[in-house]
Amino acid sequence: MNLPLSLTVNGERRELVLDDPRVTLLDLLRERLELTGTKKGCDRGQCGACTVLVDGKRVNSCLALAASQDGAEIVTIEGIAQGGRLHPVQAAFIEHDGLQCGFCTPGQIMSAIGLMMEAQTGSDPERIREAMSGNLCRCGAYAGITEAVLEAQKMLGTSKTERAA
């Protein structure tokens, strides 16, 4: 069964045909659009490595059927730097050692961007940790991650919604 699928991925319109409805958004990004920045960790919604923004909201792309996303706007880790300049969240992760091996980092960064757009945590580190609990880091870089989110929020300030998107 062939399913037509129209997506905007990192600002670019993509017209696709799915030959199998089982394809997840994660596999579509990695295997068919060659956007391998989004990682496959557990593939079951438990680790957050596959986090992307769908219509401005962070979700687990491993638990989303691609066919179901027809018409959606997707932003992945490849789509957040601007003209070779890192997104402030990326820069803050480097500045604060928010990673060691780096495998979970694209998911952490997309989740942090989603968190800032949700605007529920303020600058309370406890609320930030709670709101980032869907992203596991087996290297244990959590302290740096929390600091990076705090700093990125401060840097982005009021312009966070347009920059984060």
Partner: protein, 352 residues
């Protein structure tokens, strides 16, 4: 994952027709369904994608003061709706204590109600499980079963219903609106889940093709807004299912409880309404003696299904704690760690 046909109906009537065929399943966000399909635990031959059905994503206040929540409202959108959180704070707290931010952004109201009652043996296709493969037996009975049910379980199945959202919904008399081949019907949320026993493979009483279109909260739910909490003990503070949880609501006048609502999670195959405890609280002075009496009533008849006798005592303590916090008054804002008992609230003893 097995192969399946994917259909995206244009409206509810088309959806019901498409899902009435044997082997069909509804797909909303898919956060539970796709996980189960990836593990070959469920194998639908047709997915009916209802995620775009028009008109089911609204939160509407009715003229009679009740609240109608469309089945496709996302968990996060509901929890963060200011009017809803003010009117139903324990439900908002329960929502925010469940899953992760990513999952709450995707998961729907209807999907939450219809997530599978499950345990690790249901997930393990090498194990015997009456829920996954009817009639094969239950390996959880003699297995690793400290997380399993202590109320309402049967020899056939001892799994618990994992929803947080459904616990306060049960407490506050939520009604489920259902569309089917023979038109519309509605029932109390409590009646959606059958007693465990006869058919562990059936988690709910919906007929083939029936679709939940909305959940309604009666106006009476908001009478408890000033004194309600959801508390949840987990093995880690965030992103974990409940060991035990409790939703408590009190209507207090001059220190006396006029009316109470109480339901438990993590202890039974369904969200467990504790009506005997509510009756024990009505008319009582809002103090520890009354709360302990209510907790004992709530767990009356509980028995371990395995290595989980601890849950019976733990549940009573969490009931006392939830009622104590409810009596103190609903916090202005959901705490940084939603539903966590490990927060420093004045006057709460860590050993109840």
């Amino acid at each position: 994952m097995n192969r399946f046909d994917y259909v995206r109906p244009a409206d509810t009537a088309e959806a019901v027709a498409a899902a009435s065929e044997p082997g069909a399943a509804y797909l909303a966000a898919g956060t539970n369904l796709l996980d189960l399909m990836k593990g070959n635990i469920v194998r639908p031959t047709r997915l009916v994608d209802v995620s775009r059905l028009p008109g089911l994503d609204r939160i509407e206040w009715q003229a009679d003061g009740s609240l109608r929540i469309g089945a496709l409202v996302r968990n996060a959108d509901l929890a963060h709706d200011a009017a809803f959180a003010k009117s139903c704070p324990a439900i908002a707290e329960a929502l925010l204590s469940g899953a992760s931010a990513q999952l709450r952004n995707a998961a729907t109201v209807g999907g939450n109600l219809l997530q599978r009652t499950r345990c690790s043996y249901f997930y393990d296709t090498a194990s015997r499980c009456n829920k996954r493969a009817p009639g094969t037996g239950c390996d959880a009975r003699e297995g690793d079963n400290r997380l399993h049910a202590v109320l309402g379980w049967s020899e056939g199945c001892i799994a618990t219903h994992p929803s947080d959202f459904c616990v306060p919904l049960a407490a506050f008399d939520a009604i489920v609106e259902i569309e089917g081949r023979n038109g519309r019907r509605e029932m109390a949320l409590d009646a959606l889940y059958p007693p465990s026993g006869a058919a562990p493979e059936r988690d709910n009483v919906l007929k083939p093709g029936e679709l939940i279109t909305a959940v309604r909260l009666p106006a009476s739910a908001s009478a408890f807004a000033g004194h309600s909490r959801y508390l949840k003990v987990r093995e880690r503070t965030s992103y974990a299912f409940a060991l035990v949880s409790a939703a408590a609501g009190l209507a207090i006048e001059n220190g006396t409880i006029r009316e109470a609502r109480l339901a438990l999670g993590g202890v039974a195959p369904k969200p467990w309404r504790a009506r005997a405890a509510e009756q024990a609280l009505a008319g009582a002075h809002a103090d520890e003696t009354a709360f302990r009496r209510a907790a004992a009533a709530a767990l009356d008849g509980a028995k371990p299904s395995g290595d989980n006798a601890f849950k019976i005592e733990l549940a009573q303590r969490i009931v006392v704690r939830a009622l104590t916090l409810a009596a103190q008054g609903t916090p202005d804002r959901v705490p940084a760690l939603p539903a966590s008992p490990f927060s420093s609230v004045a006057g709460v003893r860590h050993v109840a």
